[in-house]
């Protein structure tokens, strides 16, 4: 899933810039799971902004709350037209994808992001999320025991580890396990260290962001 974090309240409050009525739109998918932009967080943000406005002075802030199934789908952002009509601005608590879909739909509204979209990852324990996918567009997990060298090696090496690996940790930080140590340990446990004797050729990054914005077209699914 996409993992995101709420921006500092001060920054979001700065977006208001005198607005009297704001639509705060939540998303019930990834950002609900990482507790950054679901229905509860929308409620908290609406209350926090209204209270801050009352304390700092200025016109009272009316915050309209609405949480859609997912913002990354035109079908689900369409119902926003009505509630957004008489709002001065829109704040989205979705990932960057959701914000853009909302902005594309509400053409005459400024749509502000309440979150910073961090990475593609998952929850390793309650309250902790880690990056797992680098979105490179050419998966190599079958060669590395199910551990991604792109996302989990700080240098995204395909033939690691580098000389910075020490005691199973990455030289970037002792908080980061060395991705290639993890891969080695996993392959050893599976009896597949032979995979490491095969040198991987330089990776084509054309399928990653280096090839420009990406698109998937499925003719069989198009209407």
């Amino acid at each position: 899933m996409i993992v995101a974090e709420q921006k500092p309240l001060e920054e979001i409050y700065g977006f208001l810039n005198g607005a009297r009525k704001v639509l705060i739109v939540g998303c019930k998918e990834c950002v609900t799971v990482c507790q950054a932009g679901g229905e509860k967080e929308v409620g908290l943000l609406a209350a926090a902004l209204s209270m801050k406005r009352r304390i700092e002075g200025g016109p009272p802030l009316e915050a309209v709350e609405m949480t859609v199934q997912r913002q990354c789908d035109p079908e689900y952002v369409q119902p926003l037209s009505g509630p957004a009509a008489d709002c001065d601005m829109v704040i989205s608590t979705a990932c960057g994808v959701g914000v853009q879909f909302v902005a594309e739909h509400l053409k005459d509204k400024w749509v502000f992001p309440a979150l910073n979209t961090r990475f593609g990852g998952g929850s390793v324990e309650q309250g902790i999320w880690e990056e797992r996918c680098g979105f490179c567009g050419d998966c190599v997990l079958h060669l590395t025991g199910g551990i991604c060298p792109i996302a989990r090696c700080s240098k995204s090496l395909l033939n690691g580890p580098c000389g910075g690996s020490h005691d199973g940790k990455c030289e970037v930080s002792d908080d980061i396990p060395c991705g290639w140590q993890l891969i080695y340990d996993r392959l050893k446990a599976l009896g597949r260290l032979d995979l490491l004797t095969e040198v991987q050729p330089p990776k084509s990054w054309r399928t990653a962001r280096d090839g420009g914005p990406r698109k998937v077209v499925r003719e069989d699914l198009k209407l």
Binding site: A47, S50, I55
Partner: protein
């Protein structure tokens, strides 16, 4: 003005400790400030951050959550979760400009009648010192009095 100020404080009390302690304080005929309004909770861990904000929105000058002593929660970890939520909400209240000091977490046993009275006293004094909440409706505005 501060001398006349009577704080309105909402206390979210766990049924298994603070609420029983309040009962005991009554049975013991202990005096404590009438500024505190109690809300009975099945566990302090049931506290929702949105509800804490709602209390302030409705005009409370101070809010506290009272749960069992750490390690004594009837539901094992409810009070530990409440503590973390309260800590996070204190930061948010600072960001809002209301001040995290207006919110607190206390732990006490059900046998703590005197402690309950002491906490009510301590919190009332703290809020009296901080003054009225900037969110408090103007005097005479009965329509938005805390419910």
């Amino acid at each position: 003005m501060t001398a006349e100020f009577e704080p309105k404080i909402v206390a979210f009390c766990c049924y298994y400790c603070a609420y029983s302690a309040a009962d005991l304080a009554g049975t013991m005929r202990l005096q404590y400030p009438p500024n505190v309004r109690l809300v009975e909770m099945p566990c302090s861990g049931k506290i929702d951050p949105r509800v804490l904000l709602a209390a302030f929105e409705a005009g409370a000058d101070g809010v506290y959550v009272a749960g069992c002593l750490e390690g004594d929660c009837h539901f094992l970890k409810g009070n530990l979760r409440a503590r973390k939520r309260v800590a996070r909400m204190k930061v948010l209240l600072d960001e809002i400009g209301l001040g995290g000091e207006r919110l607190e977490m206390f732990n006490l046993p059900s046998s703590g009648g005197p402690r309950f009275a002491e906490i009510a006293e301590e919190m009332t004094e703290r809020i009296r010192r901080l003054g009225p909440s900037p969110l408090r409706p103007p005097a005479g505005d009965k329509g938005s009095e805390p419910r």
